[in-house]
């Protein structure tokens, strides 16, 4: 930190407070999600139900998982589609 930064309390870089905030946000998503595979299973079943209105999917081959890189977490779903429903566009 330069004398200028010390005097005026600033720095051009992201503050360590901001870094702590962002890191905690990400790690807590994982901590909370890791609590129960049960919750992941509920999510999976709900997704199957919704998608099945529009297409035939391979339920057994379907996978969902939380994946993360340095600063974000994503729910990644891999859902093999067997067929589209004819009435898919007319729903709702």
């Amino acid at each position: 930190m330069s004398i200028w930064d010390k005097l005026f309390g600033g720095s051009n870089n992201r503050s360590s407070k901001q870094i702590a905030h962002d890191r905690l946000k990400v790690v807590l998503i994982h901590d909370r999600a890791n609590v129960s595979p049960e919750v992941m299973n509920h999510i999976k079943n709900d997704i199957i139900e919704v998608i099945s209105h529009y297409m035939d999917i391979d339920k057994n081959a379907m996978e969902i998982a939380l994946e993360n890189d340095a600063d974000s977490v994503a729910l990644v779903a891999n859902i093999p589609v067997n067929n589209m429903r004819h009435d898919a566009g007319r729903r709702r």
Partner: protein
């Protein structure tokens, strides 16, 4: 109506017992009849923080195992006659008290006290279950460090799983570091944990000075931490007390720091 509040944190050393002692004294100063229960069996400390360590005869373990009534184990505070400590054993371990025994005890004591504050041990094992089971709601104490905030989140998950309302106290905030952007502040911790905050306690050297003498810091109302705890007590009693900005050193004090080193 009596209120039973458990003071917990997950991580050790963030100021649970210090907070319990100050909130207890603060409620007693407002005329409430208060019991403090130490559930950190084997590592008790609430007695020494209140200056009552030489007055213990019976403990929570004796009460839970029905050897004595809770009234025989209560230690009256020297200065505030409506404040009582139910100390725990320093030799037994956490398995000496079953959660169900604790719940029964708290439900019995409710009739006699306006407030019962339960000082919870660190961790998430049986001691935590025992401390939490009889409480109406929980205070989670944390400090602005990533490790403490993460552990607080874990405890919050456990508390929500048993349907406890939770309020947050952020302890040991260094106003200068917050100002410089090198420390998490109350707002960012609120955002991370998504909980209402009822206290932000500034880091204050006088806390150690006071506890050396068996005095909870809230008794020293000329200290920054003492005043902050008094605000928390007011909020627990339902008063609408706004959060005040911390006083920080001005430009010239910082100038002195820079060139003084």
């Amino acid at each position: 109506m009596s209120e039973v509040i458990v003071i917990t944190s997950g991580k050790g050393g963030v100021g649970k017992s210090t907070t319990t002692a100050s909130l207890g004294v603060g409620l007693a100063m407002r005329g409430k009849k208060v019991a403090l229960i130490d559930t950190d069996t084997g590592l008790r400390n609430l007695d020494i923080l209140l200056g009552l360590e030489r007055r213990i005869v019976y403990t929570l373990v004796d009460v839970a195992q029905k050897r004595v009534n809770y009234g025989q184990a209560l230690v009256r505070h020297k200065k505030y006659s409506n404040l009582f400590l139910l100390p725990t054993s320093q030799v037994a371990d956490k398995t000496a008290i079953e959660p169900e025994q604790m719940k029964q005890l708290v439900d019995t004591m409710r009739h006699e006290f306006d407030f019962i504050l339960i000082d919870c041990p660190a961790g998430i094992e049986q001691g935590f279950q025992t401390a939490v089971i009889g409480a109406d709601w929980a205070v989670v104490v944390t400090i602005p460090e990533v490790s403490a905030v993460r552990d607080a989140d874990k405890i919050i998950g456990r508390l929500q799983a048993v349907n406890k309302d939770i309020k947050l106290i952020v302890n040991r905030i260094d106003p200068q570091m917050v100002k410089a952007g090198t420390m998490l502040d109350m707002t960012s911790i609120d955002d991370i944990l998504s909980l209402p905050c009822i206290g932000q306690i500034p880091d204050d050297r006088e806390v150690i000075n006071a506890s050396n003498q068996g005095i909870p810091i809230i008794e020293w109302n000329n200290t920054a931490a003492g005043r902050a705890y008094d605000d928390v007590v007011g909020r627990i009693c339902g008063e609408d007390i706004p959060f005040k900005p911390f006083e920080t050193e001005g430009f010239f004090a910082r100038l002195k720091h820079v060139f003084g080193h």
